[in-house]
Symmetry: C2
Subunit: 344 residues, 2 copies
């Protein structure tokens, strides 16, 4: 027990190190390092002996130590809102593919739309010394990241811009998309259109609401307070909003759903409604084609890919000024958005 007295916990289950391999192969430590990393300057015979020792001992290089020495982790962090949301799956996957192409791994975590949790996560990732950070912000103040960014952590924001700091952002044109969607409804004869979105705290939600108002204004149409939901993705509140808008003194004949969560609930609510109501949603959702739901589609994978590519360009030394990239949307007409206004 004496010789392990200084080793309170079995480190990594007492794995063999390069030193052990070197001893076994009867070579120096650095030679093992050379073999493991495929560096030149090792005789085939020596290499074979080292490889055998590696095999026998079941050695695997400890990348923690490597990282400490090299100063690069080959890891990027992704802070998103909820990995379980079908919108973020493809985004995440796209980031992962780009990272993989650059030999990097991905650590990701969900903020659950909680600014404190976002900060905690992002800073934990910085403590791990990720080379870069991709953040889908929940909060609206990202000054806490300034020291990190100054210290060299490349950072790109996706889906929503950073708050109170100057940083790269890759966004979908929420304003334009919503305006197009609402204009589409107006073009099909609607004059009283309801908007149900997420909390206006969230940048995309605010932008989409702004797009809705712009389209109405462009067409010279008024917007009644009763036609705009206060904002929440909670199914119960969305259902209430739908019910109230359809029962208002000036009832809406069409609805615009501000994101995928809201959209599925609205689709369900309208399915139970006797009178046809036109509907356009922001975000495509699976099987929306079969249900004939017209949507403003955004490309989640493209968001992720674009952000990741920008991140790696920075990591590869590009020294561009922070910029905002805005991706367009696509209107997919499938029926629900082309229903004409129905009399009561």
């Amino acid at each position: 027990m004496a010789d392990t007295a200084r080793r309170p916990e079995p480190r990594y289950g007492n794995r063999p190190t390069m030193k052990d391999v070197a001893a076994r192969a009867g070579v120096g430590l650095k030679t093992v390092s050379r073999v493991v990393n495929g560096e030149p300057g090792v005789t085939p015979d020596t290499e074979r002996r080292v490889q055998e020792a590696i095999e026998i001992l079941g050695f695997r290089r400890n990348d923690s130590a490597r990282v400490l020495r090299k100063g690069r982790t080959a890891t990027v962090g992704l802070v998103l809102e909820d990995l379980a949301d079908p919108f973020y799956g493809p985004l995440s996957r796209a980031v992962e593919e780009v990272a993989r192409a650059h030999g990097a791994l991905l650590i990701n975590g969900s903020s659950a739309e909680d600014p404190d949790r976002e900060q905690e996560l992002a800073l934990a990732l910085c403590a791990r010394r990720v080379d870069g950070l991709i953040v889908i912000p929940s909060g609206d103040d990202h000054r806490y990241l300034e020291p990190e960014m100054r210290a060299g952590v490349a950072t790109v924001f996706v889906d929503r811009p950073a708050g109170l700091i100057d940083a790269d952002a890759v966004l979908t044109d929420s304003f334009g998309g919503a305006r197009d969607g609402v204009a589409h409804l107006i073009a099909h004869g609607h004059r009283r259109i309801g908007f149900i979105g997420d909390r206006p705290r969230i940048h995309t939600a605010a932008e989409r609401l702004r797009g809705y108002r712009a389209a109405m204004e462009d067409a010279g149409l008024p917007v009644r307070d009763a036609w705009v939901s206060p904002g929440s993705t909670d199914p119960e509140r969305v259902r209430t909003a739908v019910r109230e808008m359809l029962a208002a003194p000036e009832p809406v004949t069409a609805l615009f759903a501000g994101n995928n969560r809201v959209l599925v609930t609205v689709v369900r609510a309208l399915a139970a409604h006797p009178r046809p109501v036109a509907l356009v949603g922001f975000d495509d959702i699976e099987l929306a084609d079969l249900l004939g739901v017209t949507v403003i589609a955004q490309d989640a994978a493209a968001l992720g890919r674009t952000a990741a590519e920008r991140l790696f360009r920075r990591l590869d030394g590009a020294d561009e000024a922070p910029a905002r990239v805005v991706l367009g949307t696509t209107l997919l007409a499938r029926g629900s958005g082309e229903i004409p206004p129905q009399a009561d």
Copy 2:
């Protein structure tokens, strides 16, 4: 330039270290460590001085170094098939929540159903010395993980069992679920039922096919070769399979879809078909309720949670024998599975 000659790359962008903080605060290195880690034995006054220095320099502890020293990374790896698949989102998220509750971060990667890529990823995670590994296997030989597991990497397999090694596995009862689903169709009068699943290489796919055959046999029904698709989730091939089964000499009156990918394609194909065809699918999918699709639902989040809890029990020292946990399924009757057989 002389003093940086030995430093070819700016490590972590030249971040301050505890040494720098110590110098600034006029204390010893270890005292900074104590403050940072909230260890006792520091006067309030000293602590304040250190905190100030930390603030001014923008110091953040380098967890890479910490990990090297402590031998634990507080990180678990998750190897899944495709982060973009809506089935894996909730699973991933559930794992993340459990990890978070244990103070660990999650590195995840997609194998894209490629055994080599699965191995590459899993071993890369082991090289990073993740404390534990959760794997949704793509390959059917996991002997490559044996040295790692012996070396102390806790490993739990999810959704599909490990191949050729003895390890924990958390599975859904694919056999029972499929048998129940097919029995449900039989109970509604069907005698000629088609099965379209994924490649039988995949354990769950094989089990579901077995469940289908068992249900048919239990009912004394024959299974024609033409009723069983060779297995692929490729939409084109699924559509072909549907078409051929409906046009076979003994055409099927009902279909069983082996997973969510197959199911959406089958739903689309049947929507375009003139005659009603009964359908039950494995895996619930969003909006399936509105489309009236009867499914055998499995709980992806429960899979992830159960696996992660088992993993952390092991990390906390539990020394149980590897076991297999099987979670049940739920039949959700929504209409498509209750359509009676239709004459040609």
